[in-house]
């Protein structure tokens, strides 16, 4: 795999678009969080010196807050994945890589590994941003372990891999950058609208298990936690294994669909 990754590195190391999108992906996570941090600090009324929204950027809630905020930015790494993958089809280099001596398994394997690497990188940035806000932006509250609720980092990772795989699947099926990006973006909105209508208005619970919603539910809205009822939190807690199970099934499906498509079809 290392050999394959070295070749993938040769493809992107002098590609300006790759670096621009990667820098935006990396910088947007702390940048967007910092923007929201300032907004919280300055725009909401305070009660005894504390925001009515609680302390979302202090331990332990900062894990949930930074992760949830970062999930708003999935479109950026998705564009990066779609660009790199559809480039191969646009330039027909996917054919040339096979002709020159890669197996189809190697091609699809290294692309899947790249999706995983990008997800790990983004998770690492989320972790560093969380620690930055937790330690530098706020004092660690007494009696609170900084690592309590760090499970949200894992939930972010699951969500990031899931969204990235959807972007990858669309790239492999559609093969055109603009169309794949458009469908990815429209589906993000479409699913939210469907969930909003069917779940909230008609109380149809099954929509919780739609491809994106099932991972969205792993990280609930972090703001105004004090206003939420405890029953809702307990229900969420009990559903986590189901959400993780649903995410795992979808990931398996994405891997099978992309691999099968590339292994069996004409290139």
């Amino acid at each position: 795999m290392l050999k394959l990754l070295k070749i993938e590195w040769l493809k992107v190391k002098n590609y300006r678009t790759f670096w621009i999108l990667l820098v935006i992906t990396i910088a947007s996570i702390p940048g967007f969080n910092y923007g929201l941090y300032n907004l919280m600090d300055n725009s909401f009324p305070k009660f005894h010196g504390k925001s009515i929204l609680g302390s979302p950027f202090a331990f332990p809630d900062v894990w949930q807050t930074v992760s949830w905020n970062a999930t708003m930015l999935f479109l950026v790494p998705a564009i990066l994945i779609i660009t790199l993958t559809t480039n191969e089809f646009t330039y027909k280099t996917h054919r040339q890589n096979i002709i020159d001596g890669w197996s189809r398994q190697q091609f699809i394997g290294v692309k899947l590994f790249e999706v995983l690497l990008l997800s790990i990188l983004c998770t690492l940035i989320v972790a560093l941003t969380t620690l930055g806000f937790g330690y530098i932006g706020n004092k660690v509250p007494e009696g609170v372990s900084p690592w309590a609720e760090s499970r949200f980092l894992f939930f972010y990772f699951v969500q990031m891999v899931s969204y990235s795989m959807i972007a990858f699947l669309l790239s492999m099926l559609i093969k055109r950058a603009g169309l794949a990006m458009g469908i990815f973006f429209i589906y993000m909105i479409f699913e939210n609208v469907i969930v909003g209508i069917l779940h909230n208005k008609y109380n149809i619970k099954a929509v919780e298990y739609l491809p994106e919603e099932v991972t969205d539910r792993l990280i609930p809205l972090p703001y105004g936690k004090a206003l939420l009822n405890q029953g809702g939190l307990a229900a969420w807690e009990s559903h986590i294994p189901y959400y993780l199970g649903g995410a795992a099934i979808y990931l398996l499906l994405y891997c099978l669909l992309t691999s099968r498509r590339f292994l069996k079809s004409d290139l």
Binding site: I99, S103, D266
Partner: protein, 297 residues
């Protein structure tokens, strides 16, 4: 000696369209093997199948007498259809990727760039190359690591006359050095000039395959004229060694068995049979007409 490439009963369907039907032939080691056929005859499809970018609907093939695998493809330099490179990278960086996939070091890159006269433009982005330069870069990529087998699909596409001549010369040089070359082309003279063997495809069906001198044999024919054309036709039809007598605009065309053409002998034969010729000329049968005859069977 084992064939380099052996193709057995390959079929390919695109939906209900039959692109290849039961195609079988073998490419001998050290040969320059032309796959000849008009546009749409299935040449590129066939080469796409043996390079694993297209899936055959039936049949099988083997390289070097073994089951196909990516390891074998690394030993083959292939230019299939169009030059496929990363447009945003320079020619040299594109070759670095090809060399890495083939498992070679980068030390061979300057040599192949020099061979195709692209050394001066090696740092230019591929997107800035002309069509001919793109084609030459693709040929350079094929030559990386001095492979023992080359597969060229229309290698002179987009090249100017000098480039075409240089590429043909390069193919001849490589063949002299023992490289086996599979060359797909719709250009008859290209195949005739550089190939030792040929397979002719038409509408996905193999018409014939074999030694180029046998398949595309340029038959000799004599053109004859006399005052009494009908009598001339009668005696020529009865002449030993004559394969066919045809009427052209003014004269009769006589096709003889290969290697039996003797104008003075024909003249003497006619005179002995009471015909005085007023026209006798040796003509070469065009390769095109031979190809048309083969593909119109």
């Amino acid at each position: 000696m084992n064939p380099i490439l052996s193709i057995q009963s390959i079929n390919k369907f695109y939906g209900s369209i039959r692109a290849l039907h039961q195609v079988s032939f073998e490419v001998p080691s050290g040969s320059v093997f032309g796959v000849l056929g008009p546009n749409g005859s299935g040449k590129t499809t066939l080469l796409g199948i043996v390079m694993n970018v297209l899936q055959a609907s039936g049949g099988s093939y083997s390289w070097f007498g073994e089951q196909p695998s990516e390891k074998q493809r690394r030993k083959i330099g292939t230019l299939l259809e169009t030059p496929n490179f990363y447009h945003y990278l320079s020619g040299e960086r594109n070759l670095q990727i090809a060399a890495a996939i083939k498992g070679h070091g980068q030390e061979d890159i300057p040599r192949v760039l020099e061979m195709v006269k692209l050394s001066e433009r090696k740092d230019s982005k591929f997107s800035t190359y002309s069509l001919g330069m793109k084609q030459r870069l693709a040929i350079a990529s094929c030559l990386l690591g001095k492979p023992s087998v080359l597969v060229f699909d229309e290698p002179t596409n987009g090249l100017d006359p000098v480039g075409i001549a240089e590429t043909r010369e390069l193919i001849r040089e490589l063949a002299k050095g023992g490289t086996t070359i599979v060359l797909a082309s719709h250009l008859l003279d290209e195949v005739e000039k550089v190939c030792t063997h040929v397979a002719i495809l038409q509408k996905g069906v193999l018409i014939t395959a074999g030694d180029v001198n046998e398949v595309l044999m340029s038959e000799d024919l004599a053109e004859l004229g006399a005052a009494d054309t009908e009598k001339l036709r009668t005696i020529l039809t009865a002449m030993p060694g004559v394969r066919q007598v045809k009427q052209s605009e003014q004269y009769l065309q006589v096709y003889l068995q290969n290697g039996t053409m003797n104008l003075s002998g024909i003249n003497q034969y006619c005179f002995d049979n009471g015909i005085v010729l007023n026209h006798l000329q040796l003509r070469k049968r065009s390769l095109e007409s031979k190809f048309m005859e083969l593909t119109n069977k």
